[in-house]
């Protein structure tokens, strides 16, 4: 499928927002793929972090909204410590999540988690999960 990329399709406001939220400059990414190679979740990801970076550089806000990567990320910072361009990729993933969460959209519904799981999970799992996946 051909993808049109032109100044008309590039959402500059979106790029600016991601840079502001993450405190990173996503233009620095030179597409080496080291982030995905270091990512423990990448084997189960459809879209690798490198491709997310590319979509962000082209301001593809709608495409980003459709990919799961940010919601599969465990914020482990493996990408962050290995990016040769010094990009804190974990912060970029957080920015991608927050653009959704800040519209008051929950990614998981705490009330719908299985009873047993909530009872047996350590607090630190629930607190961190709710912090990352709910608005």
């Amino acid at each position: 499928m051909a993808i049109e990329i032109s100044d008309k399709t590039i959402n500059h406001e979106f790029i600016e927002k991601i840079n502001q939220l993450s405190g990173q400059d996503i233009r620095l990414c030179f597409q080496c793929g080291t982030c995905g190679g270091a990512c423990p979740m990448s084997e189960n990801m459809q879209t690798l972090p490198r491709r997310i970076m590319r979509m962000l550089q082209f301001g593809m806000a709608h495409r980003i909204a459709d990919v799961e990567t940010g919601w599969e990320c465990a914020s482990c910072h493996s990408c962050t410590v290995s990016c040769p361009r010094g990009i804190d990729v974990a912060r970029v993933m957080e920015a991608v999540r927050l653009l959704v969460l800040r519209k008051n959209i929950n990614r998981i519904e705490p009330s719908r988690l299985p009873d047993g799981a909530v009872r047996e999970m350590p607090q630190v799992a629930l607190v961190s999960g709710f912090r990352k996946l709910t608005s």
Partner: protein
């Protein structure tokens, strides 16, 4: 030097065996640490958004309390608490603008500039207690045990709060000080899937499978860690791997402090095997360690 101890939420409930074994061991080592009065949850994860300051307030309040107690150091046992407190501390130390905003917001407290040092118990054992001193107090050397020391993420990433430089071996040194053999394995800092256990529990099964395979291939009899979320994922998901016949047996999992208490000659009321899974209890039995009233759970 005054040292405060920050337990965090999980250590008072699901990870009681982490707290009980660590505190009993410190007493046996003659080290005084006072629990921080009126501590609150550290927030578990450091906020990564540049404009989100409100989530730094919780850990900073804990740091302010430690300072007000006159403590130079705040020692944690939970890796996630360590990470969120240490990162909030660096922010308050180095980011002048955010520091001012947060201090102004918390106007009932003293201003904070990163005065307290946040430390994890494992480096406290190395730097303050000392391996030689620890070795001298070992009553039951864990000889013959092959232990995989699992760091996970939050003790080593990001770099500015890493407890040691890349390829450091503080955890292995700890294992060796107890008289056991440290097993090197390549997945020792690979993430266990963390909070994704809530949203993607099946992916966490895969990730845990890779970590366990790496430790087992290295010849480990058991694995130690210091994070209650890693502990939950590694123990729980091994159960599922076993059911799916992807592993032949579960690798026993302990908090590092449980092995410490055992090696110091303390009893099961200190190392709390009643809070471990059946495979771990069975391992202790096979090594002739009393397991007290540990009831066997699957």
């Amino acid at each position: 030097m005054k040292v405060s101890y920050y337990p965090g939420c999980t250590l008072k409930t699901k990870a009681k065996h982490l707290e009980d074994s660590a505190l009993a061991s410190l007493t046996a080592l003659g080290v005084q640490v006072g629990e921080l009065p009126r501590w609150n949850c550290c927030g578990a994860v450091h906020s990564l958004a540049d404009d989100d300051l409100i989530h730094h307030v919780a850990p900073v309040r804990d740091l302010v309390r430690a300072m007000n107690e006159g403590s130079e150091r705040l020692v944690t046992l939970c890796s996630m608490c360590y990470n969120s407190l240490a990162r909030a501390n660096l922010l308050m130390r180095h980011d002048e603008i955010k520091r001012k905003t947060i201090n102004d917001f918390m106007n009932e407290e003293n201003d904070y500039h990163g005065e307290v040092e946040v430390e994890h118990l494992i480096t406290f054992l190395r730097d303050t207690v000392g391996w030689d001193n620890l070795r001298a107090k070992i009553k039951v050397p864990l000889s013959g045990m092959k232990i995989a020391a699992y760091y996970g993420c939050t003790l080593v990433r990001p770099k500015d709060v890493a407890i040691e430089p890349p390829h450091g071996r503080v955890m292995n040194e700890f294992v060796e000080a107890l008289g056991a053999e440290a097993v090197d394995f390549s997945a020792n800092t690979v993430c266990c899937g963390s909070y994704q256990v809530l949203a993607h529990p099946d992916v966490v099964v895969d990730v845990v499978g890779r970590i366990i395979a790496s430790a087992s291939d290295g010849g480990a009899d058991a694995l130690i860690l210091s994070c209650p979320l890693c502990e939950y994922n590694l123990v729980k998901k091994q159960g599922e791997l076993l059911q799916q016949q992807k592993i032949a047996r579960k690798l026993p999992v302990f908090y590092f402090s449980q092995l410490l208490a055992m090696a110091l000659g303390l009893g099961p009321e200190s190392y709390r095997p009643d809070r471990n899974d059946a495979a771990s209890v069975e391992f202790l039995r096979s090594k002739n360690f009393p397991v007290g009233s540990a009831s066997v759970q699957p």
